[in-house]
Amino acid sequence: MNQTANNPINDLYILDDDNQNVRLCGFPLLRIPSLKLSLQILPVTKIQFEYFLCDQPDPDFSESVYSEMLSLNPRISPNQISADNYWKIFLTGIKPQEAQKFASWLGDSYQIPTKEEWGKIFNALNKVKDVEFYSRILSDYHGSERVKNVLIKLKDTIQNSLGDNGLTDTLLMRNGVMEWVAHPELNIEWGGMGDPKFHNGTSNPDAYVHETPRLPGTYRFNHYGFRLIKRLD
């Protein structure tokens, strides 16, 4: 999985070397050299977060905290993924500070992207078409059978039911969940970017417009998840 994806635009992105990192749980990381960063190809899933819970003793993440998150967006198994519910495989209801703890666990260089970074990624990938994206990843996949099953199910769902907006659809930056971004404005610590399919948000990534949730460190929002980036410099 750590080899260069053999695609017609591989000067734009390749699979990241850190895909051997067991804490990524087999969910691939995509390197975009022009932006000097790598990003998780999907928002963080509940499966990934459960690895974190089982590895890191932390009183802030008791069973009841996770249950609270699940009550906002119930868990489904990979076998249940369909066009009607695929977002339930992703973790939402998490507060940004909690997401930061997860990022630190993954490694020093992992961060929640800034609004600027998220927007640049979105614009770089929005017009790129790559219908073989998942097929190529799956053809040489060495992760667990469970995560492979998630990728297969999402591939089928995305190909069959989503729009035609290129890689931003494929990577569910659109039609996924609202994703936490850092410093969307001066003096505002957290905001949301994305276009979640199951929730009407005020973010408009095409126009670089973020959403500003109310008291993000206090409340849990059922449509807010996150994906991480790894800065390369």
Partner: protein, 502 residues
């Protein structure tokens, strides 16, 4: 890091400083322990009637391995302890003198035995410990070889529970030595099938699984049936292709290049393809299987019995000396070994197919609290079960639901309490780390959040779900409900059967 299996008592234990096997009173080579996790172990045992060429073969093989860098440029070997060094040296001295190697030393002088068939006494098991580095296609291995005395296979009752028998269980690939010259003698009363029966009887008596074992039948003294003009031998001549294969051994004269400049050059320029060599070995094995069926007394029965017991069979020929010694046991010409590397390569090849099949024992932390009714389950019963499982030669790693770190690894005792932290009712982070050969046993007192993730996966057949409750909490293909302590023996028996097949 796992606790190494002691090569002397074949159990896992603390070795201390300096490392020792206290039950056998012997030192453990430091190198063996240091490299245990880095260099995989290839366990080998010799099985064969007395004087069928087992020790001579081991002498020839070690000599070939010592000189193998002439052909495989980066390969080399190293003896790990004094015993291995002196044993190999002794064999070498005997062969330099042109003598046949002394039989494997027994542990009781023959003149003190009541009868040749007398049951063998317990004694300190002493394997040869060799690191073989960078074998093409296979990499490095720590080769642990038990040269079992032929007396062990005189009758089914001669095998009993001591160190040697334990080595038979630990080893999945067995070198089965058969001297064709002895087998074809009219006066011979034991055929090859009887040898297999002796082996199987010992294994069965100990309750050990026969599955996933491979017998590498090594026909020794093959020179007599590939070259000889002896009329008796010619009646059972090896197939022509096998004779040609015997003669065209690329390792022929490997032991001489140090003293011969031309030979040195020849070996330096030799191109060796392991793939081609292994594929030729495969072809020869099938020819020898036909030969065994048609010519060797008891051969058809051996093949049938192995098939019946689901034991893999491969055949090869060797000649450790390349010539027959005189009546005084002395060789009249220089030794000329042939195809000595083949049994070793078979063992490496077949060992690859027998990846470790380990058990993940996943326990619910709730089992250790008062949440579970005492009449359903008790920790002493679990300990008893754990001890039983350990006798199946599987590496058992214990986890707790919600904690991806092992609570105990192979060779350690069952933990007597759960860890302080368990992050939820998940088994995924534990199962996803496993290999495709592992088996999992989950003993739970409550629902498991991510069990459904594995429905339809390979774990469906390999994971056993034990619900300590009146009814199972969730549906799962392999489920057992432990309603009371009296159900425990039923469950243990059932699971032991699974482990035997597994």
């Amino acid at each position: 890091m796992s606790i190494p299996i002691c090569p002397f008592c074949l159990t896992r234990h603390d070795f201390g400083i300096p490392p020792r096997c206290s039950s056998h009173g012997v030192d453990i080579p430091q190198l063996f322990l240091e490299e245990y996790d880095r260099i995989p172990t290839l366990w080998l045992v010799t099985v064969g009637f007395k004087e069928h060429g087992k020790s001579s073969y081991i002498g020839a093989l070690t000599e070939v391995l010592e000189n193998i860098s002439s052909v495989w440029k980066t390969s080399t070997c190293q003896y790990l302890d004094e015993y291995t060094f002196t044993t190999v040296k002794k064999i070498r001295e005997q062969t330099v003198m042109g003598k046949v190697v002394d039989p494997t030393p027994t542990w009781k002088p023959r003149d003190q035995r009541a009868a040749p068939s007398e049951v063998v006494e317990s004694h300190t098991i002493q394997p040869l410990l060799i690191h073989a580095f960078k074998i093409p296609n296979f990499g490095s291995y720590c080769v642990v070889t038990y040269d079992v005395a032929g007396e062990y296979f005189s009758t089914p009752n001669a095998i009993r529970d001591d160190g040697y028998l334990r080595s038979l269980n630990a080893v999945k690939n067995i070198w089965f030595f058969v001297d064709l010259d002895q087998v074809f003698k009219l006066s011979n009363t034991m055929n090859v099938n009887q040898l297999l029966q002796v082996y199987l009887a010992g294994m069965t008596r100990m309750g050990w699984s026969l599955r996933n074992r491979n017998l590498i039948v090594v026909y020794t003294k093959a020179d007599l049936y590939a070259n000889s003009k002896n009329s008796e031998a010619s009646r059972h001549f090896l197939p022509k292709d096998v004779c040609d294969y015997y003669r065209q051994d690329p390792f022929y004269q490997l032991l001489n290049p140090r003293s011969d400049r031309d030979l040195r050059k020849k070996f330096q320029n030799m191109e060796f393809s392991m793939e081609n060599y292994l594929s030729e070995m495969e072809h020869i094995s099938s020819l020898l299987e036909n030969y065994t069926r048609d010519e060797v007394p008891g051969g058809q029965d051996l093949i049938n019995l192995a098939a019946q017991k689901q034991i893999g069979l491969k055949f090869c020929i060797v000649s450790a000396l390349g010539t027959k010694p005189g009546n005084d046991g002395v060789l009249s010409v220089d030794k000329n070994p042939h195809r000595v590397i083949d049994p070793f390569l078979w063992a490496l090849k077949m060992n690859k197919g027998l990846e470790n099949r380990n058990v993940k024992l996943i326990l619910d932390p709730k089992l250790f609290t008062s949440d579970v009714a005492v009449d359903r389950f008790s920790i002493p019963l679990l300990n008893e079960f754990y001890s039983t499982m350990q006798s199946f030669d599987r590496e058992i790693t214990t986890y707790f639901i919600g904690n991806a770190s092992p609570a105990s690894i192979a060779g350690q005792r069952l933990p007597n309490q759960p860890p302080r932290h368990c992050g939820g009712r998940f088994i995924g982070p534990i199962l996803d780390q496993g290999s495709q050969n592992d088996i999992a046993l989950v003993i739970t007192a409550d629902e498991i959040t991510d069990l459904d993730d594995y429905r339809g996966s390979q774990w469906e057949d390999r994971m056993h779900y034990i619900a300590v409750a009146e009814f199972p909490f969730q549906k799962w293909k392999n489920t057992f409900t432990l309603r009371s302590e009296t159900d425990f023996p039923v469950f243990v028996n059932g699971f032991n059967k699974i482990l035997q097949k597994f």
